[in-house]
């Protein structure tokens, strides 16, 4: 800024300043300022483009060498230079989908409890506690997961599942603690706050009149939820769940710490597994060859493509809901 001492509403403008409009034919402050804001705003688009281009560039050697075999190959051998990512893709898909299956009813239930059932104060307290959960960094979930939760699973839940449901392929094998099951649990704990808080925002947009209408027709509170609240909010809730899926797929640290990091495709939840972000986290800094770096970058590129798609879909669904104005409280 040329004259920092100039305070709006302050001293009388000096001669030069009061005639500053004459200068606006040339390069004016407005022109420069607007230029800066344009530059920075468009840098968002540039960043997204740069991400895709840079990652595609680095992963090109692996893409050229393996083609489609990269995503269906099961072997990952950095020494021999054989790279197939199927075990990681499998681990990511299974852990995220199972975590979402567990998290969705819990989150939607909690959001409904906060907005429709609990007294306002209680709901507010629960909502802020959920926000606290969302603020805890991933690495701290991982710390708790690997030092507290996984040993606990190994002592209690996993032997129990193995004893009673061991005839199913899902619960076979020795309980290690660090396992697919541990990853599913930690992911569930981590995505619940996200889905809950967004679902809560969505439910707050349900018009009061809709709910009052249901109540006036003699509906119980649950019937009001089922007939007026859920149908109105369903696309927004779907958006929240998909956003949670995006978060679960990309979650790195906590999963890396509890999943056991073994690239295998096993139906058993008690067996260790591996995910796409985890293998990047573990191997990227120490990649042994250019092809190794390139293969890891290609996994990153797949991850980026998947999360971009998931997020775009989620945002479209959410925008369609939150664009409508706030509805207002409960009847």
């Amino acid at each position: 800024m040329a004259s920092d001492e100039y305070e709006f509403g302050g001293a009388v403008p000096t001669e030069a300043e009061s005639h500053s409009w004459k200068m606006e034919k040339g390069v004016s402050g407005d022109f420069i300022f607007k230029g800066v804001t344009v530059l920075f705003a468009f840098s968002i688009l540039a960043i997204l483009l740069l991400m895709v281009v840079e990652m595609a560039r680095v992963s090109l050697p692996a893409i050229e060498k393996y083609g489609w075999r990269f995503v269906i190959g099961r072997e990952w051998d950095a020494v021999q230079g054989n790279f197939g990512a199927l075990a990681y893709i499998w681990g990511s898909v299974v852990s995220s989908v199972l975590a979402l299956l567990l998290a969705t009813p819990l989150s939607v239930g909690t959001a409904l409890f906060i907005t429709e059932i609990a007294p306002k104060k209680v709901g507010g307290v629960i909502a802020s506690l959920v926000e606290l959960l969302a603020a805890i960094p991933s690495v701290i979930y991982g710390l708790w997961g690997v030092l507290v939760m996984a040993p606990w699973l190994q002592r209690t839940i996993e032997p129990f599942l193995n004893d009673h449901l061991g005839f199913l392929p899902f619960f076979q094998g020795a309980p290690y603690g660090v396992s697919m099951l541990a990853a599913v649990f930690i992911l569930m704990i981590m995505v619940v706050p996200i889905i809950t808080s967004i679902t809560k925002e969505v439910l707050l947009t349900v018009p009061r009149s809709q709910k009052e209408a249901a109540i006036a027709l003699g509906a119980t509170r649950w019937e009001m939820i089922r007939m007026a609240v859920l149908p109105y909010g369903k696309s927004g809730i779907l958006g929240a769940v998909i956003l949670g899926l995006g978060r679960a797929v990309g979650e790195t640290m906590a999963v890396t710490m509890v999943i056991g990091n073994t690239p295998q495709i096993s139906l058993s939840l008690l067996a260790p597994a591996y995910t796409m972000p985890s293998v990047i986290a573990n191997e990227f800094a120490e990649a042994t060859s250019q092809l190794h770096t390139s293969a890891l970058m290609e996994i990153g590129l797949i991850l980026l493509a998947v999360t971009l798609l998931i997020n775009a879909l989620a945002q479209l669904l959410l925008w369609s809901v939150t664009r409508k104005r706030k509805g207002g409280g409960r009847p």
Binding site: P137, G142, W144, T307
Partner: protein, 278 residues
């Protein structure tokens, strides 16, 4: 059982189920806090804030270098990320046409959902490879990429709340638009903008994945931007997966300090947020 009592019973049952869901969600929160406070509380002492980690098997030591490193990384990332976020938001709310603004807004929302490890890979390709080495600078870039969409979206929301009449009053007095924006619009929204910045800082303070192959971590003190640098989240990660009890204790202490700082930041953010509303 009549139809009505059945409906009422179902209602009561479902309400109980919803309450149970809410309760279940809070169980892990309580467990995690109890453990962090109990394990971390017994490990935090003066050494923790003044010394660097001791070698495995030796008791004591601290995370002083990690705290300094994290502070440096956060500072650098803010220097990069905050101006871009704020002025980008100014464009969206003060200048942009509706269509292009929607596109940028959408891009920012999508960018905010990109996994943080990806921003690390991008910073690696952009800085680590050309500079032929891991560096604090690359770590800061990765963190800045995470900050930008958060600051941009929160700032824009705040700018939209400033009444148009305020801008018009300033413009009518002959103040140029750029100065009106800086001195009137942004200043009125200052508290809200600060809230967004604090939330963004709280978010990146705990980020680990983007630092793994950019800042890399460092066992010793380092203040040079072109060298690998220690960061608290990285230390917590490395110590948590190590087999040593002493290092586990350090990790818990680190978790306690990190969580305390982050909650401090979000409390401060709330304070500013509330000041704005009044």
């Amino acid at each position: 059982m009549t139809h009505l009592t059945r409906r009422k019973a179902k209602n009561a049952g479902m309400i109980l189920l919803l309450a149970f869901a809410a309760l279940t969600v809070l169980v892990p929160l309580v467990l995690i806090f109890v453990h962090i406070v109990r394990m971390g509380g017994s490990a935090v002492n003066l050494d923790f804030f003044t010394r660097i980690p001791s070698p495995p098997g030796e008791a004591g030591g601290g995370m002083a270098n990690g705290m300094a490193g994290s502070a440096l990384l956060i500072g650098l990332a803010s220097l990069l990320g905050i101006p871009v976020g704020i002025f980008g938001a100014v464009y969206l709310s003060e200048y942009g046409g509706s269509r292009i603004s929607t596109v940028i807004r959408f891009a920012a929302d999508v960018l905010a959902g990109v996994p943080s490890i990806i921003t690390g890979m991008v910073a690696y390709a952009l800085l680590v490879v050309p500079m032929k080495g891991f560096s604090a600078l690359a770590g800061a870039l990765a963190l800045a990429l995470i900050m930008i969409p958060i600051v941009l979206r929160t700032t824009e929301e705040q700018l939209k709340l400033v009444p148009t009449s305020l801008r018009e009053a300033s413009l009518a007095l002959g103040v140029p638009l750029w100065r009106t924006t800086l001195r009137v619009t942004l200043r009125s929204a200052l508290a809200g903008v600060l809230t967004g910045i604090l939330l963004a800082i709280a978010r990146i303070a705990g980020e680990t994945a983007p630092l793994l192959f950019t800042a890399l971590g460092n066992q010793f003190w380092s203040g040079r931007l072109t060298q690998p640098i220690a960061a608290m989240p990285l230390q917590i990660f490395n110590f948590a997966i190590s087999p040593y009890d002493d290092w586990h204790r350090l990790a818990w202490a680190g978790a306690l300090v990190l969580v305390t700082v982050m909650f401090g930041l979000s409390l401060a953010a709330r304070f500013f947020g509330r000041a704005r509303q009044q």
